[in-house]
Amino acid sequence: MTVLRRLSTQRSAALALAVVALLVLAAIAAPVVGWLTGNSPTEFHGEAVDPALGGLPRGAAGGISAEHWLGVEPVNGRDVLTRVVYGARVSLLIAVFATALSVLLGTTLGLLAGFLGGWVDTLIGRLMDLLMSFPGLIFMIALISAAPGADRRLLLVAVLGFFGWPYVGRIVRGQAMVLARGEFVAAARVLGASRRALLLREVLPNLTGPVLVVATMSIPACVATEAGLSFLGVGVQPPTPSWGQMIAAAVPWYAADPVYFLIPGAFLFATVLAFNVLGDAVRDALDPRSQRR
């Protein structure tokens, strides 16, 4: 919690925290936003678009109006604002769960590798090398399209988490290795601590800092990758909105209806930026020596 306090004293970090909080709030309160604006994320508004012009939204700036605050989607006239807030739910949830998965896997395996060393380290190290030399995106697409029946959201979480853990693992392994050689671990060993106790009581608590930093950094990476995957055609199933899904749908329209393209893009950018700023700030807060700011 001291970390949180230190964060709030930094202006940029406080701002980023506010943005993230606002987004989370919007995501949670998505139905409220729908109710306020009187729109649902899946309802078509044929009257808001002009079929004769290929479904271009009627009115200026992508059909921004009193009913549709951020305009409507071309072709089907769905409300962009409602879809953006519902999309935030999906995108953030996937990112958070994927991060949780990769942190769990990465911490466990990285800890074991770094602490136990020897063949365990070799094995896990090789596994991480292997996973990191995979062309990840190609693989994610292939894996997701290989399992067509499953729930895409779970699949995305699984795939993002699975390909993300080596990055956590590498950092944890390095730290655990240093810590395992450290004198306070030696002290505990001299006192007769079991391996389990060494791992859980002495080493693990000292990893919370780096893990927290990679986790904060991993969330925006997951949001962006999820969007990228949607862009490449393997996102969540329609009509569930996600930001990547929306951007992907808007790509052909970027010249005809730039507003439609810019809005989910801007949300995505703001989110990723906010998390990145936050990640930096967390790192600085945890590491007083850091002279980054």
């Binding site: 290929g54 089907n76 067509p148 199933q237 010249a255």
Partner: protein, 537 residues
């Protein structure tokens, strides 16, 4: 439909480089394997077939005219034997004459398992075709194709086929000299008998055609061969193709699109009079429909299917494809561009926007007042997604919950073509291989042709009455009567609502300001007929 800008001041000049911009890949150049429209359209520049489509806009384009052959074929033996005579003076790119043996060899190649993808007619119709494995395994050849001399070729069929003369317009009836056959490799470099030969082909990237100097305009009534060079850029981003053509600058002034413009470009083009002038709209013989799996759940009840037919918002579906420019809302199976079309609207709604009330009533009558839940298979493409959502929204109004099952586009056809793996609904469509219903209704609605894999009858529609009628029509000697009979049968099928037609396609293609002779061709689903294009100087 506009006939493009070929009229007026257009002065077609020989020479120049024509650019063709395509957002997809030419699947195959090998005539044995070419079966998609763009391959056929491009193929016409490279090789000649026994007959071919007339190079003309509108319904005239559906007419079959002689190409390699001197006429459209002479049937005998009750249309079970077809004889063609080759024109004199038709030469390959190396100057040697095209012989009937090459045509025979070309057809035989299509039997080889290495060269799949092509149309099935040779295998289905030629006597002894079922057992033949292609020239690589049986070099002796197929006896039912005879080449008594260099200019005569005779096909012996296992059944009467009244429109075999149309069938031989397919690329698989193009000549292939045996010594030039490189098997699978032929796909990259087919030997030219047409006005252009291949200079360079990089799959999914670019095809460069240069003039075949051995080609003689005098032997060819179809192709104009105006540009010196044709460069086809493949696999471009569709939006980029549209934007380049809209800008029409530099080389792009000499460019045409191979595919219709995307929905996102429609507004820009139609709002700009100058651009609108460069938009060429062609009619097509393609019909789009929603297939309803008649074998599953509540869908075996005709009232449920009819409810879907009423509920479907055809207009919304059309909007996903670009609005009115993409075609007319369909009410029948056979489009007006096909002989045998008979106008009717068995499931009417205002402006084609669907009639949810009627649909609800029908559902209630069928005992599904509480609603039903169905699964729609769509390809995981932007278009598939948009159409799926339109179906979902429209049927949702009538209390039908639709779940969308996205399938990667590579797996899409094998999934929906497998009765075991397909779900309830699928957005579908069909283009006959030549104008007429004979390569349409029998393939799609003959219940006896339902197969475990590669199934085309995605409604799994199997009506003894319809099957019987299909057999009767296939033996009709008079093509006109047969087409009329197909028209009536189509109406009959619509009563059972196994499919809900929603769009009779049109294609709106952009051409560069410097291009002449552009028109949409029915046989190429309304896209440009490449053989007539030329450049202004």
């Amino acid at each position: 439909a506009s006939n493009g800008n070929s009229a007026g001041d257009a002065v077609a000049v020989r020479g120049g480089t024509l650019h063709v911009l395509s957002s997809i890949d030419l699947e195959h150049l090998d005539p044995a394997r070419a079966y998609v429209t763009s391959s056929q359209d491009v193929g016409r520049l490279i090789y000649r077939t026994l007959t071919t489509f007339a190079p003309a806009p509108g319904p005239a384009g559906g007419t079959i005219v002689p190409d390699l052959a001197t006429d459209t074929g002479r049937p005998s033996d009750g249309a079970k034997t077809w004889t063609f005579t080759l024109k004199e003076g038709v030469k390959y790119e190396d100057g040697r004459p095209v012989t009937s043996k090459d045509v025979k060899y070309g057809v035989e190649r299509t039997f080889a398992a290495e060269l799949p993808e092509g149309p099935p007619y040779a295998r289905l119709w030629l006597a002894g075709g079922e057992a033949y494995k292609g020239p690589y395994l049986s070099p002796a050849g197929l006896a039912s194709i005879e080449a008594p001399d260099d200019r005569t070729i005779v096909f012996r069929l296992n059944r009467p086929v009244s429109d075999f003369g149309s069938a031989v317009s397919l690329p698989m009836f193009a000549p292939v000299p045996q010594d030039k056959d490189t098997g699978v490799g032929y796909d990259n470099r087919p030997f030219s008998s047409g006005p252009y030969k291949i200079e360079r082909f990089e799959a999914k990237k670019q095809l460069t055609l240069v003039r075949n100097t051995s080609w003689d305009q005098a032997t060819d009534t179809v192709r104009k061969g105006l540009p010196d060079k044709v460069v086809i850029d493949l696999n471009l981003d569709p939006a980029v193709v549209d934007q380049r053509l809209i800008a029409g600058q530099g080389e792009d002034a000499d460019a045409v699109g191979l595919e219709p413009i995307g929905p996102a470009s429609v507004g820009r083009v139609l709002n700009d009079p100058q651009l609108k002038q460069r938009l060429v709209t062609g009619e097509s013989i393609n019909t789009r429909f929603l297939s309803i799996n008649t074998k599953r759940g509540p869908l075996d009840d005709v009232r449920v299917r009819q409810a879907i037919a009423y509920a479907l918002d055809k207009d919304a579906l059309r909007t996903t494809r670009g609005g009115p420019i993409a075609g007319e809302l369909a009410t029948t199976l056979l489009p007006p561009t096909l002989p045998g079309h008979a106008a009717e609207d068995p499931y009417p709604s205002k402006d084609g926007k669907g009639d949810p009330a009627k649909a609800k009533a029908l559902l209630a009558e069928a005992g599904h007042g509480a609603g039903v839940t169905l699964t729609l298979d769509t390809p995981a493409t932007a278009g598939g997604k948009a159409q799926g959502e339109a179906v979902q929204a429209a049927l949702g109004r009538a209390g039908i919950t639709v779940k969308i099952n996205e399938i990667s586009s590579s797996a899409f056809y094998s999934t929906v073509g497998s009765p075991a793996r397909q779900h309830d609904l699928v957005i579908d469509g069909w283009t006959p291989d030549w104008p007429g219903a004979s390569t349409y209704l029998p393939i799609l609605f003959d219940g006896r042709l339902i197969t475990g894999e590669g199934n085309n009858n995605r409604a799994q529609y199997d009506s003894a009455e319809v099957n019987k009628r299909l057999d009767e029509i296939s033996t009709m000697g008079d093509p006109a009567a047969a087409q009329a009979a197909y028209g009536e049968l189509a109406k009959r099928i619509m009563r059972d609502a196994p499919v809900v037609p929603f769009l009779w396609d049109k294609a709106a293609v952009l051409v560069g300001p410097n291009v002449t002779g552009a028109y949409g061709h029915t046989a190429f689903v309304g896209r440009l007929d490449l053989v007539s294009l030329g450049l202004r100087k």
